[in-house]
């Protein structure tokens, strides 16, 4: 896999505040990398340094295995915080500037505007756009040069639920084309749904890094319920595979031992003449994991 980005000991201080502290990252081709963290954790500052608008206090980074930065940036589609365009120019006129800077052809302008559903308003001035339209135009600008790498900082900020769903779908679609995406967000299910890898930042420190799938595995917690909860409670006490049984909201929550599975639970109870009306194997969510990581490092 090709090396897209390598970050070594990247550090930024604003006066006494440590915005980013000795950050190391490695992003390879095809990853959809989630940068998580509460507000003010250093996500945008990190991306700002990687895009040369914030000067690092120390440390280094290299794009595409050491390509010059200006050239690299022309091959990166990036959205950093709020959408920035000339308010007195239309969408098309603004995108012509982007195309010129990125040395890209202007022939894709209509295509990307279509992709973000702005074709009908393409000749209106940017200043007359709604926040959602502005956000979508910045995504169009990021896609314009058909870049192999996208950096998206809170791409669904200010969008309505439908817009968020559309952007999420768009990101998954782009990721399937084999593009590499770095996604900074505090919306966790957004990251959980599209990212392959993620890291957690807090106060400029990297607390955790790893593949998203590793933490979304099934847990050993099973929730069961039956019409006759009383006999269920009595019967389950004899099930040797459960290490802990707890009543929760009209169900029973079982912690299963190493060898037991939800199938075993079901079979055991069926043999005892109890038919379950509910059997749910719980999976971890990124949100739980994220909060746990923050708690452990609080």
């Amino acid at each position: 896999m090709g090396m897209i980005l390598e970050v070594k000991e990247l550090t930024k201080h604003f006066g006494k505040i440590q915005a980013v502290n000795g950050l190391n990252l490695t992003i390879t081709s095809g990853m959809v990398y989630g940068l998580l963290g509460p507000n003010g954790s250093g996500k945008t500052t990190t991306l700002g340094m990687l895009l040369d608008v914030v000067a690092p206090t120390s440390g280094s980074y290299s794009w595409f295995g050491g390509k010059p930065n200006v050239e690299s940036r022309q091959q990166i589609g990036a959205i950093l915080e709020t959408p920035c365009f000339y308010p007195y120019l239309s969408a098309v006129q603004n995108l012509r500037i982007v195309a010129h800077i990125k040395k890209a052809s202007t022939s894709r302008i209509d295509e990307v505007l279509d992709q973000v559903d702005l074709s009908e308003r393409k000749n209106d001035k940017f200043k007359n756009y709604s926040l959602g339209m502005k956000q979508r135009l910045s995504i169009a600008a990021a896609l314009l040069a058909d870049p192999p790498v996208l950096i998206l900082d809170e791409p669904t900020n200010g969008l309505d639920p439908q817009g968020i769903a559309e952007i999420r779908e768009l990101i998954s679609k782009i990721a399937k084309q084999g593009k590499t995406i770095v996604l900074a967000s505090h919306l966790l299910d957004e990251v959980q749904k599209v990212c392959t890898d993620f890291c957690v930042l807090k106060n400029g420190n990297k607390l955790h890094e790893g593949p998203v799938n590793d933490i979304l595995n099934e847990t050993n917690t099973v929730e069961i319920a039956a019409e006759d909860m009383e006999s269920l409670t009595i019967s389950i006490a004899d099930f040797s595979g459960a290490t802990k049984v707890k009543a929760v909201n009209g169900s029973l929550q079982l912690e299963l031992g190493q060898d037991a599975t939800s199938t075993d639970v079901n079979r055991f109870l069926f043999d005892r003449g109890i038919v379950l009306k509910k059997l749910v194997t719980q999976t971890n969510s990124l949100e739980q994991e994220f909060l746990k990581i923050l708690r452990e490092n609080g």
């Binding site: 700002g48 608008v53 000067a55 950093l80 000339y86 007195y88 120019l89 006129q93 800077i101 990125k102």
Partner: protein, 275 residues
Amino acid sequence: MVRAFQLEWLKLRNYRVFWILVAMYLVALFFATSSLMFFLNWLKSVGADLDGIDPTIIPIYDFPDIWQNTTYLASFLKVLLGFIVIISVNNDLSYNMLRQNVIDGISKREFIISKMALIMFLAAVSSGFVFLAGLINGSIYSHTGGMSQMFNEIEFIFGYFYDIVVYCTLAFLVALLIKKSGFAIISLFLYTIMFEPILVAMLENAEYFDGTIWQAIAPFFPISAINDLIHIPFGRYVFQEITDYIPLSALAISTVWLAIYISAIYYRLAKRDLK
């Protein structure tokens, strides 16, 4: 340079404010370069008496004097070009577009080059206009003619071009240092037409400064230096000695200022985080 200018062109091509300002500037330039005969006729009509000389016979549009006469007058309007530069730079800063441009893939150096390209463009348009106006007015009113007379002293057009380039580079720097465009424009305007000229006039002429170092440094002030490129020419019509060439000292001092402006712009942008 071409690529840098194209970037600037895309930003300004559909920016109405820019074209209105350019149009207003050109109208003002037209009056500054081409209305002198009307002015002299008006002087005559109100009965101005210049030691018994009819004002309309003053050969103000004669080749080659016309070049210094018109560039001297046109040079007063360079402050308007400074405003255009401030507005253009300020747009990129206040809308966070310099940051966005850098993210999209230019270097800060390219940004500086693109603004310098704009400055050169404005200076070239203005110089071209003054040159054409000189040719036309000269061919209508000049008592002298012939190629050698016509293009003698044409160096004033180049001096004029340089004057604008240096001044607009100062405006570029001011726009970077003062982020509110209105404040930047008023500061530049007052400094150019009042604060420095008055200060320099005091240093040069007040008895108090006679023979002091202050008097000696007066020509080194930034506006004074570029204004000295083209000296006031009208003394020749009342038989005074005038500086009818571009003084090398003014050229040298202006060039040093230009280098200082560009270095300051570069330093300012290189060290600043684009938040």
